[in-house]
């Protein structure tokens, strides 16, 4: 299979670019305003490196809201949406302003609900489009929310539990008017990489 060749890396980046664009457009409809997209990056890493890359990318040493969601099908792995700083809280206010109402709910619970809903939109739309471009279907496990540092033992242990190698795909979005930046990471298990590379090769044969 020759692993992650340059052309495969470029193709996966473009497939995620298209998929993430779809996800961010869905989120922009909910939040209002325009969200700036970043160029996706793809690299082969070990699970230990995943923690370091997540931590370095976020550049946030304090509060961070993490939503982790597993997906499975022809390809499988995990998605993580990281919302550092006050992003979770600001998202909550954006949603409340847009809806024009104050829900009858404790503020911390509401913040969690908003974070879960945003992650549902971003992860679901992005992975849904990505799998559609590869002509397959995936299913999702219920999401887990972690409200501690990305380097916390609990989150680290969760990530460590995965296979010896992974394909890490990451990108980010930022709301242009409010302090909301979200980082989206996917790591795909090495057990599905042969399938993925084969489908990417087919995609390249058909589209280029």
């Amino acid at each position: 299979m020759n692993g992650l060749t340059e052309i495969r890396r470029q193709a996966i980046e473009e497939l995620i670019n298209i998929s993430f664009g779809q996800a961010v457009a869905s989120l922009a409809e909910v939040l209002g305003g325009h969200l700036q997209l970043d160029v996706p990056k793809v690299q082969a890493v070990s699970p230990l490196e995943v923690i370091n890359i997540l931590s370095a990318s976020i550049e946030e040493k304090d509060e961070v809201s993490l939503v982790q969601q597993a997906f499975s099908g022809d390809f499988f792995g995990e998605a993580v949406l990281a919302l550092p700083g006050k992003a979770g809280e600001n998202l909550m206010y954006l949603v409340m302003e847009d809806g024009g109402f104050t829900p009858d709910m404790e503020i911390d619970k509401l913040r969690l609900e908003v974070i879960l809903e945003v992650s549902n939109i971003v992860i679901g739309a992005c992975m849904g489009q990505f799998s559609a471009l590869l002509n397959t279907v995936i299913s999702y496990s219920p999401p887990n929310v972690f409200l501690y540092k990305i380097t916390s033992d609990r989150f680290r242990e969760h990530i460590r539990a995965k296979g010896p190698e992974a394909l890490l795909i990451y990108t980010k979005f930022a709301h242009q008017e409010r302090e909301v930046t979200g980082y989206l990471f996917f790591f795909l298990s090495d057990q599905c990489l042969d399938w993925l590379y084969s489908e990417v090769d087919n995609f390249l044969d058909f589209n280029t």
């Binding site: 980046e13 473009e14 298209i18 998929s19 664009g21 961010v24 457009a25 922009a28 390249l204 280029t208």
Partner: protein, 119 residues
């Protein structure tokens, strides 16, 4: 050489996908891997039609489009982007883009654009 096309996109795969959608014809196809390079190539030789990506590192497509339209208000630029937000579309049309094509592009849509600009 009847006319020239310029594709500005940081992704080589995206440029290849778009090039495959172009109708057959006698034209010159040039490709730039970023906004700054695209502006330089356009400055050296104008293109009859420019396809421009939005999400690019260093100089994004919004800035590239603004600079290109400032340098040549008659430039014909079609934005081809994964950023399909309505505000992105409104912004590029406001900056002077002819059309907005969501990625991945289709041969039918590109063909329609060629016809609409008389190529």
């Amino acid at each position: 050489m009847a006319f020239s096309i310029l594709i500005i996109d940081d992704s080589p795969i995206s440029r290849m996908m778009l090039a495959k959608c172009l109708p057959k014809g006698d034209y010159q196809l040039r490709q730039a891997g970023g906004g700054a390079q695209g502006l330089k190539m356009y400055g050296e030789q104008k293109a009859d039609l420019v396809f421009l990506d939005l999400t690019m590192p260093e100089m994004d497509g919004f800035e590239t489009l603004a600079r290109l339209m400032e340098a040549d208000p008659q430039a014909k630029v079609v934005v081809v982007s994964a950023d399909i937000q309505s505000k992105a579309r409104e912004k590029v049309l406001g900056l002077g883009a002819l059309d907005f094509v969501p990625k991945p592009p289709t041969a039918q849509k590109i063909n329609d654009i060629f016809k609409s600009v008389g190529l």
